[in-house]
């Protein structure tokens, strides 16, 4: 063989220390490849589960078609603003979910940039729900704009405070945020169940046997611009969510606060050496992260839920989906938007598109979402594998070219 290019030295990327730094290395290495391959792998494997358990590949394909249509994505074939058309109704519902997931995704992404893993979005979201409901039901004499503003601000602050507990514990005594935020999740779940439950302080005042809260006052309900108010029409919450995306981007990329938070995320020792207070920024980042999740609760409560029942508590999973949204979106603003669109469609598409039961049992749908979420998080974290898959065609081509070259050079 004359082909004598020296073998490249084994490349071993330096093991970066923190979570954020590790992900930054991967970001440069993977680019857009990792999310795309991740999605393909996750959907293929979840489809395989359906195909295996239903003994039919056809059913798996049908299930995906129904999820696609259930999410209202077939709207693009016949775009219309008429909400009476099923596809546009479905799309409006997907966008409703998307607004929530943008915010819970931002909650995870912001903490990630500071090197922390906030899996307490669900609990912070519940705090937002609780406070928004309380403010929305009380102060019914206020006029619309100040009432909405008050509810939104109070719920956002509640989310920030709840996450702030984990931030303070991390900064002062070094308690790992994963354990503390999980515990705060469960405390929030029981708190919400108690508040909205029988005899709870926020239970409705008319029917003492129904564990549901009061409906918030008209003055606290967000205006609806697509669909009907009171029938889950698409409210202006989606613009609040898009605004939060801009705030997230500006905060991280154009302010001192964002610079400090990112510096702490990359390398706390170096940041401290540069005069940045690590403790202050850990608490700050966690509180801002929780503020996004609290805002998500406010947008849901004021936008279309209006009231909350004890039975709704264990079924809410938007806070957890936020983890997959942020990781798939690589913790950037644009990525989070795309991730939220995808999972918003998946969330509504699985619960709604499969509810006829003609393809698979509708109760399977929610669990299928969890499987996809699990696979997405698993593969996003394992970029070595994903990049290997991504590069496989190129590697095969190279091997074939090499083989061809070597056979050509063989003496006849």
């Amino acid at each position: 063989m004359t082909d004598s290019a020296p073998a490249p030295p084994p490349q071993e990327p330096a093991e970066a220390e923190t979570l954020a730094a590790r992900f930054a290395v991967k970001q440069r290495a993977g680019g857009i490849a990792v999310p795309i391959v991740t999605l393909i792998l996750a959907f293929l494997m979840a489809g395989a589960v359906v195909a295996a358990t239903q003994h039919s590949v056809h059913k798996a394909l049908l299930a995906y078609r129904d999820i696609f249509n259930g999410a209202g994505l077939n709207w693009i074939f016949h775009p219309t603003t008429n909400i009476q058309v099923l596809a546009s109704y479905n799309l409006s519902q997907t966008l409703l979910q998307t607004s929530t997931l943008i915010l819970t995704g931002l909650a995870v992404a912001f903490a990630f940039r500071a090197g922390m893993f906030n899996i307490g979005g669900q609990g912070q979201y519940f705090l937002g729900i609780i406070v928004a409901n309380w403010v929305g039901v009380s102060f019914a004499t206020m006029s619309t704009t100040p009432h909405i503003l008050l509810a939104v601000v109070a719920a956002t602050l509640a989310g920030a405070a709840w996450a702030g507990i984990a931030g303070v514990l991390k900064a002062t005594v070094g308690a790992h945020e994963v354990i503390s935020t999980i515990m705060l999740n469960w405390i929030a779940i029981y708190l919400a169940s108690w508040l909205f439950g029988d005899g709870g302080p926020l239970q409705n005042s008319t029917d003492p046997f129904t564990p549901v809260s009061d409906t918030i006052a008209k003055s606290a309900q967000l205006p609806v611009f697509w669909g009907t108010q009171g029938f889950q029409g698409l409210d202006i919450g989606i613009f609040i969510a898009l605004g939060a995306l801009v705030v997230f981007w500006v905060l991280l990329n154009r302010t001192t606060l964002g610079y400090e938070v990112k510096a702490v995320g990359f390398n706390p020792e170096a940041a401290a050496y540069g005069g940045i207070s690590v403790k202050k920024n850990l608490i700050r980042a966690m509180a801002i992260s929780g503020a996004f999740a609290g805002l998500a609760g406010a947008v849901d409560m004021l936008g279309y839920l209006y009231h909350y029942g004890q039975a709704d508590v264990p079924f809410s999973n938007v806070g957890f989906l936020g983890i997959a949204v942020a990781l798939l979106g690589r913790n950037t603003a644009v990525g989070t938007l795309l991730g939220a669109l995808l999972f918003g469609g998946l969330l509504f598409g699985t619960t709604h598109g499969l509810n006829s039961g003609s393809v698979i049992q509708p109760e399977l749908a929610g669990n299928l979402t969890y499987i996809v979420v699990g696979l997405v998080i698993l593969f996003v974290g394992a970029d070595v594998l994903v990049l290997y898959v991504w590069n496989t065609p190129r590697r095969l081509l190279r091997r074939r070219a090499k083989a061809a070259a070597s056979t050509a050079e063989l003496p006849a």
Partner: protein, 402 residues
């Protein structure tokens, strides 16, 4: 770690005079202040608790003045808490007190601690070898569901145990591949495993059991009945599950394996300094794989207690682990990565769960809120002990073979 030689040079009388001794004594006396007011002692006069609690606080202040600030303030807090709880207990009715504090409280505490013991020992093995296992929760859930399935279809609880162990071990193997070979972030990977287990168990629960929680006639893990009768010990430990006793045995075996055998030394070497371990010929990857899979098997056995133990009694519910894997993880940290310490923490959390159930006699409406007690306690515990505990040096860091 105090060695035997150091202990000989430091006789017991000297150790009793040390600030640490007065600090721990203060914490103990503070706990006693609360204990005085509840059955069986049940002093109804409030000044007993106040008097004993003040002694604890004084011991604490003395400890602080001799330099052990953190421990001293802990004793002061224990004393004040003892006074507070004592006052609360003397204010409540004798009937309620007797309903909350009886011998079966011990049995229930041990019962609630059992799944935590299994998962925590699993966590200790995994983390001692250098792999953080956030996925304990999911592995427990796999054990809870597939154990039930195995017992139901296989016709015996032993089959259930085997199937649960296989399911937990398999999920752990997947996680190990991602954490060890692919070097993905262990916190992210573990979270993924939890979601995966939630989805898989939920999916097959619908597919195989149509979401109905009770499977009639499922063989459950039997209890060990001895010391029968209504006396204290019979009620406290006479009817515990086989798994609870197995948990005690596991703690002892885990201690012996980890700290008294060559294998244990190798495991700990991989968690402290994998490069050095590799240099002397230890296969770091193999050790880590074995430990992670073992942690999955043990977590699954803890999970089976939830579905087939006396409290579950042949039922499964979606997400029935409810954060117990994370509480077990907290027990690992709280117990300083040692079986005995983790057992103490598991007992504490088991006790608080049992207590929360019984506090319903005071306010049925607030019972939902009381259920948050173990999680609150975990939060406080994790916050309180950090700094005094030390994780294995290479815990959570992927190792690159050279």
């Amino acid at each position: 770690m105090t060695t035997w030689a150091a202990r000989l040079e430091n006789p017991i009388s000297a150790r009793l005079r040390s600030p640490a001794a007065s600090g721990y004594a203060g914490i103990f006396v503070g706990a006693f202040a609360a204990f005085l007011a509840i059955p069986p002692l049940q002093a109804r006069a409030v000044y007993w608790s106040i008097f004993v609690g003040l002694i604890a606080a004084i011991l604490g202040v003395w400890t602080v003045s001799r330099g052990r600030r953190r421990l001293g303030w802990g004793a002061v807090a224990a004393g004040l808490l003892g006074i507070g709880l004592g006052i609360l207990a003397t204010r409540s009715s004798v009937g309620n007190l007797n309903a909350v504090f009886d011998a079966t409280l011990i049995a229930q505490s041990l019962g609630f601690a059992t799944p935590l013991v299994f998962a925590a020992v699993g966590g200790i093995f995994s983390e001692r070898s250098g792999v953080v296992n956030i996925g304990l929760e999911g592995m427990m859930l796999m054990g809870a569901f597939w154990g039930l399935y195995g017992a139901d279809k296989g016709g015996g609880w032993v089959v259930g145990l085997l199937v649960a162990a296989a399911a937990g071990g398999l999920l752990a193997l997947v996680y190990a591949f991602f954490a060890i070979h692919l070097r993905s972030d262990q916190i992210v990977g573990g979270t993924a495993v939890n979601f995966l287990a939630l989805g898989i168990t939920g999916y097959f629960f619908v597919q195989l059991y149509h979401n109905s929680p009770v499977q009639n006639g499922t063989p459950t893990v039997p209890n060990v009945n001895f010391l029968s009768g209504s006396h204290f010990f019979g009620a406290a430990i006479g009817g515990l599950s086989i798994l609870t006793w197995a948990g005690f045995a596991l703690l002892i075996v885990a201690y012996l394996v980890l700290f008294k055998t060559a294998i244990g030394l190798r495991i700990r070497a991989c968690g402290e300094h994998p490069r050095a371990a590799d240099t002397v010929g230890i296969n770091v990857y193999a050790i880590r794989y074995v430990c992670v899979v073992l942690s999955g098997i043990l977590a699954a056995l803890g999970g089976i207690y939830l579905s087939l133990g006396p409290q579950g009694n042949g039922t499964f519910q979606f997400n029935m682990t409810a954060g117990k894997g994370f509480i077990a993880l907290a027990a690992v940290i709280f117990g300083n990565w040692r079986p005995a310490g983790a057992f103490g923490a598991a007992l504490l959390f088991g006790f608080s769960t049992a207590l929360a159930l019984r506090l319903q006699v005071y306010s049925p409406q607030a019972s939902t809120l009381f259920a948050a007690l173990p999680y609150l306690l975990t939060l406080i515990a994790v916050a309180g002990v950090i700094g005094r505990t030390e994780a294995p040096a290479a815990d959570g860091k992927p190792y690159v073979r050279q």
